[in-house]
Symmetry: C2
């Protein structure tokens, strides 16, 4: 039980201060134990970090997949656009996303290989899922301008990344400003 609280606290610290900036001292203090007690649960800082990462990736993967499954009955536009609103409501898991974004862009140098080996499959899988979703939906709706679904998926990912990042780091208002600016243009470029 303490182990998962420890993991969740560590993730928050890693997200906020980065690998090098996070201190086991402060993490332990936040959990309410002493620093050496961490070693009863994890082999060390690296182990704590990589475990937090594995856990965050697995959780987020399920979390994202769940949304697109739950909106099977909606139109493609409603599903794609609704993802932004849904994401906003689910912002409890901000720490995990911030953590993932941070280590994806700026992995700790000494764990670079381990990080990219875990991160790349995550993003690849997201892109594949999205491509498949676009293809299947377009077969029914015949709504998209081009049948290059892979490019459409990549473009959608670029837009979501850009706006989500804005949300995670600059707050709701900046996010909504950016989303209402970019979505109409993007969608207009996407459909017939």
């Amino acid at each position: 039980m303490k182990a998962s609280l420890l993991l969740q606290t560590a993730l928050r610290h890693f997200a906020q201060h980065g690998y090098e900036g996070a201190s086991l001292q402060e993490i332990a203090q936040d959990v309410g134990i002493k620093k050496p007690s961490i070693y009863a649960h994890y082999r060390g800082k690296d182990d704590l970090f990589l475990t937090a990462m594995t856990h965050a990736l697995a959780t987020q993967k399920i979390h994202l997949a769940t949304y697109f499954i739950s909106t099977r009955h909606l139109s493609l536009e409603e599903s794609l656009k609704g993802f932004f609103d849904w994401f906003l409501e689910e912002s409890t898991q901000n720490d995990q996303l911030k953590f993932i974004l941070r280590i994806a862009y700026f992995p700790p140098v000494k764990l670079e290989r381990e990080v990219t080996d875990l991160i790349n499959p995550f993003f690849d899988s997201m892109q594949r899922h999205l491509t498949r979703l676009l293809r299947e939906r377009d077969r029914q709706e015949q709504i998209l301008y081009s049948d290059d679904y892979e490019s459409a998926a990549l473009a959608y990912l670029t837009v979501t990344e850009g706006t989500m990042t804005e949300f995670v780091f600059n707050g709701v208002e900046a996010y909504q400003r950016r989303f209402t600016a970019v979505w109409p243009i993007f969608w207009r470029g996407l459909v017939r």
Copy 2:
């Protein structure tokens, strides 16, 4: 002379390891001096960091402005699209951009205020310049679908950010894949 080499080396280290992860020891060694010699040029780590940041922002601001001035004679599409190619060629200054992106998203906690006070005006100014450029060009060309130039600028920024980030962190191929995917869709959504 050593002072500017020091600055440039420090920037590279900050970009790669972050504020907390960068070590004065290693920076000095990279320059070819001993650690305490840094204090002959800067008051300390904070001063080194903030000076590097101020310098990088000023340089990049001029650098970006120069492009859009130099393409006054081109069409709006050529100017906006050409920016991506131009940026790719100018990739010498990658360190500066990587540094700026890193500290914009993940500022060192203890210098958070100083960083945002310098970063926000930078991005605001970019957006204002872009909005003005779009308005002036559209007055001549009458090409854009909407006259909401601020939204268009914000959308363009989202797309550039998304693809540039991809370039800085995942290399040229990932960048070009993403750009060729997103640009046609974006431009189609933008024009009449």
